[in-house]
Symmetry: C2
Subunit: 234 residues, 2 copies
């Protein structure tokens, strides 16, 4: 009998500890020995936060952007040997905007049971908080880096938003300010722009406004902080 793969959320903002986490997650975490993680140091910090002890009990397996697809079958070996495994990303819900989905894929291919746990996801909280339709939305990850391609992509997303599908995306934090400027100079004045900044932290900022209004009002500082952007026409 193979083990079960638990998808374990971690806090997005650490200042509030486990405030946004169901207590049940701690029970599951404490029952596990094997963990697939993005970074060992971060993972140990989260395990401690979840009340895991002694910390040396945890066996950590690394999964990050350098992990080759051939390695995924190795990562799930404990599962095939009947051990339960926890998958944690660096922040938020594993499998959403991180490399975790590849491990889940490998698990399905081996008929291993996958059990997602509830926890904070900045993308999901943004979709909820935007006021954009919750019946039809996309999360499309990162936009292209080069400016002409970035502008083309923004216009494509705006066209989809005009047809009724809300579009959400992210950027590397040190490029957020530049992306915000490009959004304001590219989008139509009536297009709604959502900015979700520092979600679940004390500086949380979540706001939807038409582009024309964003241009007139003071904008939040988005440089080097985690932000989810969204566009829609209502």
């Amino acid at each position: 009998m193979p083990g079960k793969l638990y998808l374990i959320p971690v806090p997005i903002s650490e200042e509030n500890g486990l405030q946004h986490m169901p207590a049940y997650n701690s029970e599951i975490v404490k029952s596990l020995i094997h963990f697939i993680v993005e970074d060992a140091k971060t993972a140990r910090r989260f395990l401690k936060l979840y009340g895991y002890s002694p910390i040396d009990k945890a066996e950590l397996y690394l999964l990050n952007e350098h992990t080759k697809s051939a390695d995924y079958s190795e990562l799930i070996l404990p599962l095939l040997n009947g051990q339960d495994v926890g998958l944690m990303s660096d922040a938020g819900c594993p499998g959403i905007a991180d490399p975790g989905a590849e491990v889940v894929k490998a698990a399905h291919e081996k008929n291993i049971e996958v059990i997602p746990l509830t926890g904070p996801s900045s993308i999901v909280l943004s979709i909820m908080a935007s006021g954009f339709t919750g019946q039809n939305f996309s999360f499309v990850g990162y936009l292209p880096i080069e400016k002409p391609e970035k502008i083309r992509r923004i216009k494509d997303l705006e066209a989809l938003a005009n047809k009724g599908q809300a579009q959400f995306f992210i950027e590397t934090p040190y490029r957020n300010e530049q992306l915000l400027e490009t959004l304001l100079s590219t989008l139509a004045p009536q297009t709604q722009l959502f900015i979700g900044k520092d979600i679940t932290s004390k500086d949380q900022y979540l706001k939807s406004k038409p582009v024309a209004e964003w241009k007139k009002t003071q904008k939040p500082s988005v440089q080097k902080v985690p932000v989810v952007f969204g566009i829609y026409r209502w």
Copy 2:
């Protein structure tokens, strides 16, 4: 100073009580008097589950598919009068696949602070558990009812899935069996089909397989139970 609009998740499956809910949500719920809800009876049951007492203290304002857009400004009146308000749907996270987004929109238009709380969403748990890419996905709500349109829509979604965007959708529970049959007869054999059934309940079933394999194996019974479907090509 206007009040704050809290988006309050409720359990998807009631058998586990608040197992998938952060304790912090109860604190917020107990501090509120005004609630915008889909159904008064269901809402009172959830308030009790959250430890709300006395239950008569809660003032409930109805929001459902019969609510006209002119009524949204009335729903947010307590907010304009400086009172905090909680928005709850019948199951899961408000603002995702329910009428709640319209209230959030009205709040943004009046510059009211919107605070989403973390909780279970069958759509989000499905995206995590599918193993499909978490970098590029859509949730597109309900498919058309008439069969020719339904088939056309499935083919359009399959084309998007082939281009790298995972597609998730739902159906009215009593039409689930029919949708599953149409999916299996319409999709290409190599297309991955995800079925997420009875999520967070003891009968939870979450599985991704190629269509060719679904056709060979015993399928879960999906009739009259809540199911999230997904398609992708990996």
